[in-house]
């Protein structure tokens, strides 16, 4: 690099490896008037070199510098890689506070409307699907029941058993102090049947099946499989969601019942080994304290939990935006939202059936 007569002479390689040094070297000519940049000695140039020249020209714009003596290769590289002719990106619109609130409300209204349509569709087609298997794949309900229900038996049983043990152990320490050992049966029966069984099952299903429903549908959406189904005159809700909806409706009461029984079994083990109760006494007490009403409310609400999981999973799945990243995002959202709504529904249920003034 040389400076002479208002002309900057560049030489040798002008590439991504030499540009950092050139920038450094250039600083010594700062403030000098440069009206020509001579490139006759440049042997090779790449896009980094051209970007360097662009930068140079922009910084010296008051002198209107010209590039001179370019050989053919340099010239074509410059004309290919130059960024000077690119349009400046337009900065995105900045919305004020009220526009943001307004748009948020509109979005909320639209998504509520979409969700209501989806719920109506799912219930309608599931009801129709009970009698008419057209528009579904053969054996898909059984297949889905295996995936949603049977495959979850192990983990639900294990966790229910551990939860039963924990509940019983924690309360046993207290109950023993008062010699109220037998009440561990009450505690296990009521808590497992009305609360722990349904909620534990629902949360595990939300994690297992809610996420898989959302990600399956979202993936089908981004790979245009949903569009392809539409083009074959097949209703995607009927084909994809209904089998899952029916399968989970069949599975949830069975899973909840199992979870409850296994949980109580965990309690029994603590009662027998730690509280000196006999199994017969324990079970007598359990059946004495349980009412049909409790059992039905526990099972009844679990249906709503199951439906919420499928509906939310498919809602997020169908509303995916973008590619692989979008799929991951809606899957997370679906799990969080379905656990949230399961707990809200549970709270509502407690208010309706157990709130006495």
């Amino acid at each position: 690099m040389k400076y002479e007569n208002q002309t900057l002479f560049l030489d040798g390689k002008l590439t991504k490896f030499t540009v950092p040094d050139l920038l450094h070297e250039l600083s010594q000519y700062k403030g000098k008037k440069i009206s020509t940049i001579d490139l006759s000695e440049v042997s090779s140039i790449d896009s980094a070199g051209v970007a360097f020249l662009d930068e140079l020209v922009l910084n010296l714009h008051k002198f209107k510098p010209q590039l001179a003596n370019m050989n053919e290769i340099v010239e074509s590289a410059v004309s290919t890689f130059t960024s000077l002719s690119l349009k400046k990106p337009v900065p995105g619109r900045k919305d004020n506070f009220f526009i943001l609130i307004g748009e948020g409300l509109l979005r909320w209204r639209d998504s509520t409307r979409d969700a209501i349509y989806l719920i109506a569709d799912i219930f309608y087609w599931s009801f129709v699907g009970l009698f008419n298997r057209k528009g579904q794949r053969q054996g898909s309900i059984i297949q889905q029941s295996l995936i949603i229900g049977v495959d979850a038996v192990g983990i639900i049983a294990l966790l229910s058993f551990i939860l039963g043990l924990i509940l019983a152990l924690q309360s046993a320490a207290q109950l023993r102090q008062f010699g109220a050992n037998i009440f561990v049966a009450d505690l296990m029966a009521i808590s497992m049947v009305t609360e722990m069984g349904p909620i534990l099952t629902a949360i595990i299903l939300a994690g297992r099946s809610g996420s898989s429903i959302a990600s399956e549908i979202a993936t089908m959406k981004v790979t245009e499989e949903i569009d392809a189904l539409r083009m074959m005159a097949i209703n995607p809700i009927r084909y994809i969601v209904v089998p899952k909806f029916l399968a989970i409706t069949i599975c949830i009461p069975l899973l909840v019942t199992m979870s409850t029984l296994v949980g109580i079994l965990g309690g029994l083990i603590v009662a027998v080994t730690y509280l000196d109760l006999s199994a017969v006494v324990f079970f007598n007490r359990v059946f004495e304290i349980l009412t049909m009403r409790d059992a039905l409310i526990g099972l009844g609400k679990s249906f709503f939990f199951a439906w919420v999981i499928v509906i939310i999973g498919s809602y997020y799945g169908f509303n995916v935006k973008g590619g692989a990243e979008g799929v991951g995002k809606v899957t997370t959202q679906a799990v969080v939202a379905s656990i949230f709504w399961v707990i809200i529904l549970d709270a509502l249920n407690s208010l309706i059936f157990y709130f006495k003034t």
Partner: protein
């Protein structure tokens, strides 16, 4: 005067703020092969998806088989869809099903044929696209070109009246691509299919096209027969037919 089988009038399509199709009008005539041309990103796929209601057009009218479809109810539209086969640009096979099951979907859903007949029809269609050996594989186990051919087999499974192909030959070698053209011509002649194809392959256009629709920046630049297109003086069209490139 022959009635068009698909007729689009003043179609406007947008993604958010971006207008992709601006007052597009065109006619597709029965038993002809219409080729839709245009540079990448000019809105060909968007046009097809708007015609088939996969996106809601902002305004304009679309008539298929002489019926306005933009405001048609679901049931009626389904009966029209069962006469249309669509090959998506990326295949859009259902990834959880084997190739055989993929091709079987339209047959199982829309006909009352017995499983043995259906199986025969599927094998014939797979044979037609040179995929006889892969019926039990999953889409993820096929090459890009094979996926596309399997998707074509699914699109023609029901012998539709109208076949729409979004870039059927992209990603295929010249030999397979030529045999695909032959298949398309056969379908037209044997089954009197109306075929709409998006493609950029000049050779293939010369072989099969009856009519050309040339899109540019969301507008119809040219529409007419292949002969008219070859003689066109519109600069973009002229360049394309001379060198097979856009712009």
């Amino acid at each position: 005067m022959i009635e068009p089988i698909i007729s689009v009038k003043d179609l406007v399509a947008k993604y958010g703020e971006q207008t992709v199709l601006d007052n597009v009008s065109l006619d597709i005539y029965p038993e002809e092969i219409t080729v839709i041309l245009g540079g990448s990103g000019c809105g060909k796929t968007t046009l097809i998806k708007n015609i088939l209601r996969l996106f809601e057009p902002v305004s304009g009218s679309v008539k298929i088989l002489n019926k306005e479809v933009t405001r048609m109810d679901e049931l009626e539209f389904n009966s029209i869809l069962s006469k249309i086969g669509m090959l998506f640009q990326n295949g859009a096979l259902l990834n959880s099903l084997t190739i055989f099951d993929n091709v079987s979907i339209p047959l199982v859903q829309h006909t009352k044929l017995t499983p043995t007949i259906i199986a025969k029809m599927i094998r014939v269609k797979l044979k037609l696209v040179n995929l006889a050996k892969v019926e039990n594989l999953l889409p993820s186990e096929l090459s890009g070109g094979m996926k596309k051919r399997a998707a074509l087999a699914r699109a023609i499974a029901l012998d539709p009246d109208i076949l729409i192909c979004d870039e059927p030959s992209a990603g295929l070698d010249p030999l397979t691509s030529a045999s695909l053209d032959e298949l398309i011509l056969k379908l037209k002649n044997l089954l009197k299919m109306t075929i709409v194809i998006v493609t950029h392959e000049l050779a293939s256009i010369h072989r099969i096209a009856d009519r050309i629709i040339f899109l540019d920046e969301g507008k119809v630049l040219f529409s007419g027969t292949l002969q008219q297109a070859k003689k066109s003086v519109i600069p973009e069209v002229e360049t394309f037919f001379r060198v097979g490139k856009f712009g």
